[in-house]
């Protein structure tokens, strides 16, 4: 992808949380970039720091969280260096976000139509009648079969799937260049989840926008993403394309994660493959590689020194944080169907 296509470039983003017992690192040196028309998935389990990353990009980190370092380059500007007033010109218009629990993310006291119009009025300065027309069009675009009834409804009168569509409508209303979706389907039923993913793909194709898709469910990733970043305990441990991920992950954690997917399992009665141990708790001091305690490979070296995120291939498209990355062509059985 050409560099002028690059919408977002995050460099060395680190966020700490100040607690009673000192400060602990939530994310460390996170780097990512997103190009137009591309979806980057950030995959991680609870405590990996994926949500903190998206909030930091949007500048939504509040006390006790503190952004220690890093740059978020969007359209040539560093978002973190802007004042919150300046940043607000972009948030909601050029960079938008959708969240996990749609019914809770919408204001329960206003109709859905009012909330969409509010966004249009604020960023595009449209008049009321224009707003209404545009909102109805947006609702239709996100696949709601009766936009008028939906427009007049309150969030609690609509299902979770519909509320998520409304959120998406609000998010794309100003034709953003970048959409951040933080676990948008986790709270939804599985049939609705499939529809929402299809919708997001379609919108991306139509609008050419870039997307960051955050999830804990690795099985969703092939349906929606072009590239994947795997996070563990606040660090990126692997970054590669979708194909590479499934044909041969390089980091032991990624491999273990793929193996523990239920869909990967084939024989009845056979136990699922699991990762021994538990993720490090927030605030825990770890020397060396964060994953070494649970890793089935590795050596003393992993306990003593922490590996850096380095390129596995000469062209820098594949990064891995491991002293002993798995062979690039080893196959796991969780191949794409």
């Amino acid at each position: 992808m050409a560099d002028q296509d690059c919408l977002l470039a995050v460099e060395g983003l680190s966020v700490d949380f100040e607690t009673r017992s000192g400060s602990h690192t939530a994310i460390e040196s996170v780097c990512l970039d997103v190009h137009a028309g591309e979806t980057v998935a950030i995959v991680g389990e609870s405590g990996s720091g994926k949500s903190v990353t998206s909030l930091a990009i949007m500048g939504l980190i509040r006390k006790p969280g503190v952004i220690r370092s890093g740059k978020v380059n969007f359209n040539g500007m560093d978002l973190l260096a802007l004042s919150s007033y300046q940043r607000r010109q972009y948030l909601g218009r050029d960079i938008t976000m959708i969240f996990q629990e749609p019914t809770v993310s919408l204001n329960p006291s206003y109709t859905v139509g009012y909330q969409i119009s509010e966004v249009l009025k604020l960023h595009l300065k449209m008049k009321r009648t224009e707003c209404r027309k545009r909102a109805l069009k947006l609702l239709h675009e996100v696949g709601i079969s009766d936009p008028l009834t939906c427009f007049k409804s309150y969030p609690h009168q609509l299902s979770g799937g519909m509320n998520q569509r409304v959120m998406i409508a609000m998010a794309i209303s100003c034709k953003p260049s970048l959409l951040i979706a933080d676990e948008p389907t986790t709270a939804l039923d599985v049939t609705v989840q499939a529809q929402i993913l299809a919708l997001l793909r379609q919108l991306q194709k139509n609008n050419g926008m870039g997307m960051i898709f955050i999830t804990h469910d690795l099985s969703l990733v092939p349906d929606i993403a072009h590239r994947v970043l795997v996070m563990y305990a606040g660090q990126i441990v692997e970054s590669c394309s979708i194909d590479d991920l499934f044909t041969g992950p390089l980091h032991p954690y990624t491999e273990a994660l793929l193996k523990s997917l239920p869909a990967h399992h084939h024989k009845k009665g056979e136990r699922l493959s699991t990762i021994t141990g538990t993720p490090p708790r927030a605030g825990e001091t770890i020397t060396g590689c964060h994953f070494h305690a649970r890793c089935s490979y590795g050596s003393e070296r992993c306990k003593e020194s922490a590996p850096e995120l380095i390129a596995a291939l000469p062209d820098e498209s594949r990064l891995v944080r491991c002293f002993y990355p798995l062979a690039a062509n080893s196959k796991t059985s969780a191949g794409r169907r």
């Binding site: 607690t19 009673r20 017992s21």
Partner: protein, 297 residues
């Protein structure tokens, strides 16, 4: 990465220890707590601290001013009243009445209120409606007026005044308990408790109460200050403690006529009430913040 001495520390705190740490961070609330503790200690040890007996009259030192004014008499640090009784001793013994009554009233209101409120919250239906409407009626009448009416019916004495104030404070506990019970009772852990065979009163005491204690504690602390004020007001009106009982409100009432000639006889009891109520309110506000289950570690 982290400066925590041990990861175990961070998560090892019991729920109550967590709350205590949050409270400790609130300096003003702790100040209130310390003042309250000092008052309680003084009240308990009044016989040892006070220089004289509270009702002993020293006829040759009537209306002596406190030690910082001229004309003060030795041995009477805060001066004397119109019958020659030592102000400091009367205030110290008066503290016993106010504080002890405050506690007793809150205790009675709390226990009764929780029982009635829990009944309303758990039984629902007609029981709940009747209880709520009764409480609404009680809340619609101004507190002091209601207390006066009750005391007028029962007769003017400290015990009756205390009972009147308990009744007046009751509806707050009932409402809080009922609301808290309703909001908790359908939660998973309560259902799980029921599936474990916990029923009725056991369910209330073992499962519900520990989890709804926060708003009740806050209300108790704030009711404490209300109780003291109400008892003092009743005393001031002559409907509570009768002279020569050195209850602070009664002190105010008996010294009213000397407000210009011997202001200390009025201001000192007033200050005592002010300080106690302020300390207890500051503590109550601090508790409300500390016990609020925000995700704010």
């Amino acid at each position: 990465m982290s400066n925590a001495t041990s990861v175990e520390d961070v998560d090892e705190l019991t729920p109550w220890q967590e709350n205590w740490y949050k409270l400790r961070a609130n300096k003003i609330a702790i100040a209130g707590l310390i003042v309250l503790m000092m008052l309680i200690t003084s009240a308990i040890f009044a016989p040892l601290i006070a220089s004289h007996a509270p009702n002993e009259q020293f006829t040759d030192t009537l209306l002596a001013p406190p030690f910082w004014s001229e004309g003060s008499k030795a041995g009477f640090v805060l001066g004397t009243d119109d019958l020659g009784r030592d102000m400091l001793s009367r205030l110290l013994y008066g503290a016993r009445y106010s504080l002890f009554l405050g506690f007793a009233i809150v205790l009675i209101s709390l226990v009764t209120g929780v029982a009635i409120g829990a009944l309303a919250g758990m039984k629902r239906g007609i029981t709940e409606t009747v209880i709520l409407r009764l409480m609404d009626i009680m809340l619609a009448i101004p507190a002091i007026l209601l207390a006066i009416v009750i005391v007028a019916i029962l007769g003017a004495s400290l015990v009756n005044a205390a009972m009147a104030v308990s009744i007046v404070l009751l509806p707050h506990f009932v409402r809080i308990t009922r609301a808290a019970v309703i909001s908790e009772i359908n939660k998973d852990y309560v259902l799980a408790s029921r599936l474990d065979g916990t029923r009725g009163w056991k369910l209330l005491f073992r499962t519900l109460l520990p989890n709804i204690s926060a708003p009740l504690i806050v209300q108790a602390t704030l009711s404490f200050s209300n109780a003291i004020l109400d008892i003092a007001a009743l005393g001031f009106l002559g409907l509570g403690a009768q002279p020569p009982t050195p209850e602070w409100g009664t002190l105010l009432s008996t010294s009213r006529e000397f407000i210009e000639t011997a202001p200390w006889t009025v201001t000192l009891p007033g200050l005592a009430i002010l300080i106690t109520v302020l300390a207890s309110n500051l503590l109550g506000d601090g508790l409300r913040d500390a016990l609020d289950p925000r995700i704010d570690r």
